[in-house]
């Protein structure tokens, strides 16, 4: 069996800028592949080429062993679908948005209605059919966009930062749906993300793109581990720390992650480890919390940035940590750059590679 898609030596230039630099990649039928990398690494370009809406400058694309090009692109586009990072919504109802792909395929009305209903149920937008889609919230629009893609039951689903800038609830609905499509429908999923905690967790395999080249390839944890060991890796990924672990008497490990910071993680480990802390698991407070959580650090906010209805804070506490909180709690605590805060997180929140 040939792989579902294989890319050979893809190059994509935009004028002087080389977005993809000799990328070769195989995507196996039924797998979930994560494409990690910083902004501008070429993730979107790679997905657009795989989706058949952008032509490479050079290189070859094979779909189930058959080379794709020219007229084959239209056929490719009927088998795989891409969900864009910036949500694009047709200026009409939710129903017509979701039905679009089925309508252009000429499916009978009643079949379309059935499928649209199922897709909307999956993304938890039941009963939204007649609403004007552009009047929905950002998170709801992103779910419409996902429903519009999965309703086609594509063989290959390409997702560009599907949960970036979304509130955690919407993000988890989207992750659930993608997992469902992969497990129950056998949909092959390729997801580009710079968030290793959300979709990154779902994937079995990952590549790491940098400056248009694949610099790492393998299992998700292998790729993250190897990237985190490189100097450049640190600055690109949130809350990934490399340190030295020592087991403690409580059945946990104490990890020295540098900068005078020691964190405690579940599981007895000794030696060099890579620790991942999901930003959403870090609690921010102005006073130390009375909590059983093993990790409490004092720091100062160095950056505040919006992420949908939530806010990302970068906190310098010996090392820089990223935390994600709601806008409401940011206002309630009157937090700003320079504010002194406490970071609290459980030992069990830390994932060790």
């Amino acid at each position: 069996m040939p792989p579902l898609m294989s890319l050979r030596d893809l190059v994509k230039d935009y004028g002087e800028v080389r977005a993809l630099d000799h990328v070769s990649l195989e995507v196996e039928d039924g797998e979930t592949l994560a494409v990690f990398g910083p902004n501008g690494a070429g993730k979107t370009t790679l997905l657009r080429i795989m989706a058949g809406i952008e032509a490479p400058t050079s290189g070859r694309i094979y779909y189930r062993g058959v080379e794709v090009g020219g007229k084959g692109l239209a056929e490719l586009r009927r088998r795989c679908t891409m969900v864009f990072q910036r949500t694009v919504i047709f200026n009409t109802t939710v129903y017509k948005n979701v039905a679009y792909g089925l309508a252009v395929r000429g499916l009978p009305q009643n079949e379309v209605a059935e499928k649209v209903k199922d897709a909307l149920n999956l993304v938890k937008l039941k009963g939204y059919e007649r609403r004007p889609a552009r009047r929905l919230s950002g998170g709801e629009q992103q779910r419409v966009a996902l429903a519009r893609a999965i309703v086609l039951e594509p063989e290959l689903l390409l997702l560009d930062e599907p949960t970036a800038n979304l509130d955690p609830e919407t993000a988890s609905i989207i992750e659930e749906t993608i997992r469902y499509m992969n497990r129950e429908k056998g949909t092959t999923v390729v997801v580009a993300t710079h968030n290793v905690f959300g979709m990154g967790k779902v994937a079995e395999r990952a590549i790491f793109l940098m400056n248009g080249r694949i610099v790492e390839e393998g299992s998700v944890s292998d790729v993250l581990l190897r990237v985190s060991l490189k100097d450049a890796g640190f600055s690109m990924l949130d809350n990934i720390f490399v340190g030295w672990a020592e087991p403690t008497p409580n059945g946990t490990s104490a990890i020295d992650i540098g900068g005078g910071v020691k964190i405690e993680a579940s599981g007895k480990r000794r030696g060099r480890v890579t620790a991942l802390i999901p930003p959403i698991d870090i609690i921010i407070s102005k006073k130390p919390l009375d909590s059983s959580a093993r990790n409490v650090l004092k720091g100062r906010i160095v950056e505040v940035s919006e992420a949908g209805s939530t806010v990302r804070l970068k906190v310098e506490a010996g090392r820089v940590f990223t935390a994600q909180i709601t806008e409401a709690s940011l206002k309630e605590m009157k937090l700003n750059v320079g504010s002194e805060v406490y970071l609290t997180f459980k030992a069990s929140s830390i994932r060790l590679l």
Binding site: T81, R86, F90, T92, Y100, G101, V104, P132, A149
Partner: protein, 240 residues
């Protein structure tokens, strides 16, 4: 003094309103004639301009070709062309001794339609180009990745741009309906043949029939208002 003048003007306007209602209710044949001709001439002009302008606008908005920017700049510049200037140029072209004099079009409704069509063409081209350009790339990519053919994707782009395009058509029609220069220079304000609302208003005002002019102006404004409101409702429907 000024207060007196103001109250006189207010009285004139009120009187004009009363006459307008009277004229409309009485079905005065000359007013009806001018109103219907205005609608016909400007409607036909807008129709002609749309047939030409919408495809040109779509092309400028969606395709890269040599001279695209120049063409776009050209139509943008023409947006503000003085109606009387355009009227004069066409007058010279269509007059007996002009290059198209043999067509004998001058002082006919056809000449007015041609003139107004050229007048509103830039509005249709520029607005359509803008509307299409705003949605082109994203909508086209989206349609294609959902399995649409090239043609289906282009149609979707047009449909997404339609609310803005429909406003362009209405704006064009309003400009044609409300302009005087072209109608006067190419039509000549001949009663029963080329007399339209704007030319009648100008003529009656110079004759001192201020109330009648105001009445006609109110009719003109009402048409513009009703059409614009209808366009907005249509736009919302299209966006629904």
């Amino acid at each position: 003094m000024i207060g007196e003048a103001c109250s006189r003007m207010a009285l004139d306007i009120l009187e004009g309103l009363r006459r307008a209602v009277e004229l409309i209710l009485s079905g005065d044949p000359s007013v009806l004639d001018a109103t219907l001709r205005s609608l016909y001439v400007s409607g036909a002009a807008t129709f002609l301009a749309s047939i030409l302008g919408l495809p040109i606008g779509m092309m400028i908005g969606s395709r890269e070709f040599p001279g695209r920017r120049l063409l776009r700049g050209f139509f943008n510049a023409l947006l503000g062309i003085p109606t009387v200037g355009l009227g004069l140029i066409l007058y010279l072209i269509l007059s007996r001794s002009g290059p198209l004099g043999a067509l004998r079009m001058l002082y006919t409704p056809s000449a007015m339609i041609l003139g107004q069509a050229l007048l509103v063409l830039p509005i249709l081209v520029s607005f359509t180009a803008n509307a299409v350009e705003n949605v082109e790339r994203e909508i086209k990519d989206l349609s294609k990745t959902l399995g649409a053919s090239e043609l289906q994707a282009s149609l979707t782009v047009f449909r997404e741009a339609l609310p803005s395009v429909s406003l362009a058509v209405i704006a064009g029609f309003n400009r044609a309906l409300a302009e005087l220069g072209v109608a006067l220079m190419l039509g000549g304000n001949i009663a029963g043949l080329t007399r339209v609302l704007t030319t009648t208003i100008a003529m009656e005002a110079t004759r001192g029939n201020i109330e009648l002019s105001i009445a006609l102006t109110i009719i003109l404004l009402s048409i513009v208002f009703v059409l614009s409101s209808a366009a907005n409702v249509l736009k919302e429907k299209l966006e629904g």
